[in-house]
Symmetry: C2
Subunit: 809 residues, 2 copies
């Protein structure tokens, strides 16, 4: 196995200190101060992990000073703190506007300790004051019930990225600096995180950053060496490979590697300064020339021992520089007096008394190293984006109304019409709003927006791009074939105080289930934090939906994102399924004006029947659901049947089924109900939008059969209505995971969500009213269903009864 | 913008042909034959896209010969076919065992056409014979109702990777060649796909491939240049960056770039041969020396025009070499006589009559270029893995039984005990079974398996790895901090005829929602294909579950993967929540023996109360759910209350609630039901495991209140039981998205899934039985709940009543 070790040994953090930059910019006094400042931070990290009392070790350490349950991670703290402190120096020297993003999970102490040292933490939480009592509370609250988590959670000022679920640090950082030309995001990327797919591709974000109008991201790839229980891939490939990888991603990597603290300070100081100078120089060049180019932006590869400054070995096993330093290094400290001694000696080695004095406040000599006021990264308003958020400029959406003279008689392009409205939003909010998508904006019929602004592309151009390429270095539309990256950009953009929208094919939105979950969790917790201001909602427009994925086949049929979203907090999630163009406009306008929500809007991109004029659409969407009188013949009385729908394609089928029933069985009294706002179905105690029992019964009755045609998997409706009176009479149809290469009608038939199946279902549940009179119509409907399928198999197309269907007056 | 174009123009496929390898290995005759073979394939591609009649153009093309709906993609077909044909030459020359993976979406014609040319397609589907009639059917079926999709769907022989959802080609390829030392996976990676996160990190799979015992992957990064409507990132960065990127990933890239067909044949022939020689040489070196090293394996960067061989311009717009060639190039061919003429001329330019003669069968001169029999990539049995699949060798799982004398009185490590059984599986199936996980196998208490085999690591080693590193070049455990990659490996490993298991933290399994969805869809369709044999089930063991993520906080609490899985076909998905060690053993053994399922098993990793001895556990798991007599006092009669549970932690709380109720209200008759197999709850018509109405009522009664404590989000149970008699008396508790930094009991209380809340819920629903007698106990329970919370806030711990609780006899 020689060949697996040869290249690597010299590349351990315990080899000679190595640095791409050869400067020694610091005086001995500066090195000493930086070291002591860093030690102050590390002391606080250990305090957070271990102590609930005796915070300054003013008396000998005893068991009762220790937390009963030891939580949080030590492994990445020292390297993160080291990076932060060195960037502080740059902020002061160059008067930078910067904030920090911490990628590694559970390593928050490395930064929270700094936020406390520079005073911000106490300003935000006065009872975590800069004195012994405050420090004791600061320690105890960490990873403690009623306290704060071990990530950069919303409770932590200075954070807009929690970390923990790994992989989004780079895309969040880019999102936050787009259109913030003065801002630098110092972004610490864990080498565990760097193995994830989302992170691995997000390095390419540099091809979408405009050096004139956007800020900069300075990534620090922290080669900590280990994950929970494994070495990291990037820490074990050769230096040559790692450097090439970063160069291949388009960055200029600067290596800082070693464990000798003085030497590492010199190396890091020189390197960080070189990076800052390069960033400022590139920005100057672009901004003075007015010419966009793609710099090979600098980034830092920081290789330092995991758990740096811990004992190298404990009880015969490696600790510092090993995966054993990942979590709490001395887990038996409360039960093992030897471990407690090791801990006490270790903590005292930082000399807390010299750093914090008797009063427990960082001594002024060291405090002077940190920036002040809003120059502190912990205080950057970007990290509490609601503070700087301005509302979108929006013209009245009614100006884009589609004319509907009679409901259900004209076809119209709901999505392409919305695109015209969206063009206005893009045009009128040129530094405040972006549209994201994974290469599907054109396919999703939204390309009208290129009239206002094209797709940002800070990468190579070819002459043929003139032929409809719609690329420009300062576009407002962002497309990369990575749902993870575009979602990450959008989250970062929103959390830093701006607005935006993601458009995506419905079937592939599951790719970012987990990201949307985590964003919803962030929003929920952030809303509970008193000093955080509301940010714009995350607007996800799903199109190219399941019912028009007949031709792409089974892999493209999955409307289940709604099930995932519906599991998140009712305070945060909203789901809308507008049935036509005017409802889509009304819904999107509402979403753009909202804050602190995850809005999911499902609307197909193809031409559709139009139902409501603008006035009716606004009224319908405001209620969230309602009876469509023009499609009902129950004249306000108790109907025999309620036909209901939620979603555009399924509404057409439900209407067609209603028309068939009324044709074949004219004596039936049918009420037609359409649902736009899905959460209306839930009881009012479950979701803020939920109908009361009385409101619900007024629409759906309490005992008549309801045939409900739903866009997504049918059981989502059952899950929402299981408590409703008469729920056993609710018959829901939707996508039941039945598909292949189909025609649209064939796909609906496979899932029994077509007009014929719905009408048959209704007849089967109306025996109390119909007696035997349903048998003939039922036979006829069955026959028509079969003939439709035969036609599809013969021609590859749907019969005209489907493609040309209109509401029969 | 000069700087954005300078480097790129010379790097267009229309520049001079470029190749890293300078060989000209082909004779003029060979070039001619390869060209004609390729044209035969391209002719078939166009036929699939456009024609339903007149397959050989033996009469002039007319509108009625055209498909009414034009589907499928042309963009990547030519490049994929080109690659395939050149690899055929290598198979014949070096007698290789190879198969192909096609990453790009909807580009299947490029390969399916080849499968038809080499005869395999007609062997598998005799009515798609090698004659005019067969060719007509072959064309018509493509993207046609009742036919096949435009991906490499399960209906397509020679495929184990559908593509379409992009990003998994490399990880699937690696999975399929692990432990297949003789096999080479020719893997065509789209440059759109290459932008996805999962693909971007999967290049690192080469650090997990053992050149002695595994096969090889030859990736061909197809720089087609465009996605649907955008240039690709990798096609627009500089040559230098792209080469460095691939070298940084650890590969040796060989460039083949251009559009001149003769020159490209020479370049590709030389390059493919160089790659094959390198692969064989590395394997020889490692296998003869017995020493594992990590070769810089070769890979090919093929830059060719998108839609290669189409007209360069049509109607004044670029077609070949542009994104307009992505889908169907001439979309108006049926309505626009000019476009029809262009198509006819284009198709005739390939001279079908010379390629296929009058009979419609590839002429022997060309057929001789393809390999024969199972050497054809289309016929490799690996792509129908069930054929070569051997059952696992498994000792009786009962040998690992945990002793349980009295239910609910002893604690035991369910997961660590299962790890001992798993050690046997790993040991006894040394080339047939792998355990995958994202860096959590140790954390998940499964590290016992390192006794049988360690973690595979074909990357740098350091001396400190001796200190518990558990790494070796031939380990059976595979860990990379990318859920996407390990899941992709496992899918590839299973689909190529082997067995395995993924273990993961529950909260982060949502990261691969979409992958699991797609795998389930593959399995469902594959099971409908008569010639496909069953493959091993995809076994996903979820641990570090929500109820023990109290300390990691809100981001780590999400049990919603089950909702996603439950949306997939009932024929494919299975969900098990074994409550204790013996049930876990029984469940896992069952899963390992099963085939064609996605099995999801949820079990916590911490110590838990043990309930069932092995005999009872087997009986319980075989039924899937049942009454626990020892915890019930209804003595077989109608109970007052049914207390039910599904999941380990929640079972303990439900039992504790039962004990509290029986202590405070001894006259209550309580039946305790535990559910292991979640789908038992669904009606039997909905899922093959579903209980009949009578079976269900026999357990849950039809009218008594049921308090059901569920592991996951409670509404999943409601969704499954909404049709059940008495469902309105079903009160489900579970995780309701309420959490923060908590203790375990506090987390349960926040979600009302704790013993006190359950008992209170029961009392509130037993007024018919209890009258006012519940008021006092209710008060007491409320008090105890509050005191538990106070204790947690004070100490950070749970009271002993929780940590030491046992069933009271």
């Amino acid at each position: 196995m020689t060949s697996l070790t040869a290249d690597v040994e010299r590349w351990s953090p315990y080899s000679k200190t190595r640095s791409t930059i050869d400067e020694q910019p610091l005086s001995a006094d500066e090195v000493d101060k930086l070291t002591r400042y860093w030690e102050a931070s590390l002391y606080l990290c250990l305090g957070m992990l271990y102590l609930k009392e005796n915070p300054l070790l003013q008396e000998p350490l005893k068991k009762e000073h220790l937390k009963a349950r030891l939580l949080g991670h030590w492994g990445s703290d020292a390297g993160q703190s080291f990076t932060y402190i060195h960037f502080n120096r740059m902020i002061k020297k160059y008067n930078l506007n910067a904030f920090v993003i911490s990628g590694p999970g559970h390593g928050a102490p490395g930064l929270i300790s700094n936020f406390y040292l520079e005073g911000l933490y106490s300003e935000v939480y006065p009872n975590k004051s800069e004195d012994v009592e405050g420090m004791q509370r600061f320690f105890k609250q960490f990873s403690f019930p009623g306290g704060i988590g071990s990530h950069m959670t919303p409770e932590t000022p200075g954070s807009l990225h929690e970390g923990g679920e790994l992989g989004y640090s780079i895309s969040h950082a880019f999102g936050a600096v787009y259109d913030h030309p003065q801002t630098i995001a110092l972004t610490i990327v864990g080498d565990g995180e760097a193995e994830t797919g989302p992170l691995a591709t997000s390095w390419h974000s540099n091809k979408f950053l405009n050096p004139i109008t956007d800020g900069a991201v300075l990534p620090v790839l922290h080669l900590n060496g280990y994950k929970i229980n494994n070495p990291t891939i990037l820490a074990r490939i050769t230096e040559d490979e790692l450097t090439k990888l970063m160069e291949g991603y388009g960055w200029t990597p600067y290596v800082v590697a070693g464990s000798n603290i003085e030497e590492m300070h010199q190396a890091m100081a020189g390197t960080v300064e070189k990076c800052v100078q390069e960033i400022l120089a590139y920005q100057k060049e672009a901004r003075e020339s007015g010419k966009v180019f793609r710099p090979r932006w600098p980034m830092i590869i920081l290789r330092s021992p995991k758990g740096w400054s811990a004992p190298r070995k404990v009880e015969g096993h490696y600790l510092e520089g090993h995966w054993r330093a990942h979590q709490v290094p001395l887990p038996k400290v409360a039960s093992d007096p030897e471990q407690m001694k090791v801990l006490e000696a270790w903590m005292r080695s930082y000399h807390p008394e010299k750093l914090f004095g008797k009063e427990g406040k960082l001594i002024p000599e060291l405090r002077a190293l940190a920036p002040e006021g809003n120059s502190r990264m912990s205080a950057n308003p970007i990290t509490n984006g609601g503070i700087i958020r301005k509302p979108l400029k929006l013209e009245h959406f009614q100006n884009w109304a589609v004319k509907v003279e009679k409901p259900g008689t004209t076809m119209g392009p709901s999505m392409a019409n919305f695109a015209e409205y969206l063009t206005m939003v893009v045009r009128d909010n040129p530094t405040n709003f972006r549209v994201m998508g994974p290469d599907e904006t054109e396919s999703n019929k939204l390309s009208a927006i290129y009239k206002a602004s094209k797709k940002v592309w800070v990468n190579g151009y070819l002459p043929e791009d003139e032929d409809g390429g719609n690329l420009e270095p300062q576009g407002r539309v962002m497309e990369m074939l990575s749902e993870h990256t575009v979602e990450g950009w959008l989250e970062g953009y929103i959390l830093s105080g701006r607005h935006g929208m993601l458009n995506s094919y419905e079937p592939f939105i599951h790719i970012i289930d987990s990201m949307v979950n985590q964003h919803a969790k962030w929003i929920e917790k952030a809303a509970e934090v008193s000093w955080r201001r509301a940010v714009s909602s995350l607007n996800i427009l799903l199109t190219s939906t399941v019912w028009r994925q007949d031709h792409n086949g089974f892999t493209h049929q999955d409307p289940g994102f709604l099930d995932v979203v519906a599991n998140k907090s009712p305070e945060v999630v909203r789901i809308y399924l507008p049935p036509d163009a005017n409802c889509l406009l009304s819904t999107m306008d509402h979403c753009f004006k909202s804050s602190n929500y995850v809005n999911v809007i499902v609307a197909d991109k193809q031409e559709h029947l139009q139902y409501l004029n603008m006035e009716d659409a606004v009224a319908h969407c405001s209620k969230g659901l309602g009876i469509w009188d023009w499609a009902s013949n129950d004249a306000g009385a108790e109907p025999d049947l309620v036909m209901a729908s939620c979603g555009d394609v399924v509404t057409q089928e439900a209407l067609a089924a209603t028309a068939l029933l009324r044709e074949y069985l004219p004596e039936l009294k049918i009420r037609f109900v359409n649902v736009v706002d899905l959460f209306k179905l839930q009881p009012n105690g479950y979701h803020p939008h939920g109908l009361t029992a009385a409101e619900y019964s007024a629409l759906f009755t309490s005992d008549r059969p309801v045939v409900f045609n739903f866009h997504s998997y049918p059981w989502l409706v059952h899950r929402m209505t299981y408590k409703r009176e008469g729920q056993h009479r609710m018959h829901v149809r939707g996508y039941k995971e039945k598909g292949n290469i189909d025609t649209p009608l064939e796909l609906a038939i496979r899932n029994e969500a077509d007009r014929y199946s719905l009408a048959i279902l209704a007849i089967d549940n109306l025996k109390d009213v119909l007696g035997n009179r349903g048998a003939g119509p039922r036979e006829k409907l069955l026959g028509e269903r079969i003939r439709s399928l035969e036609y599809a198999y013969e021609t590859g197309m749907d019969p005209e009864i489907f493609t040309g269907w209109k509401w029969p007056y």
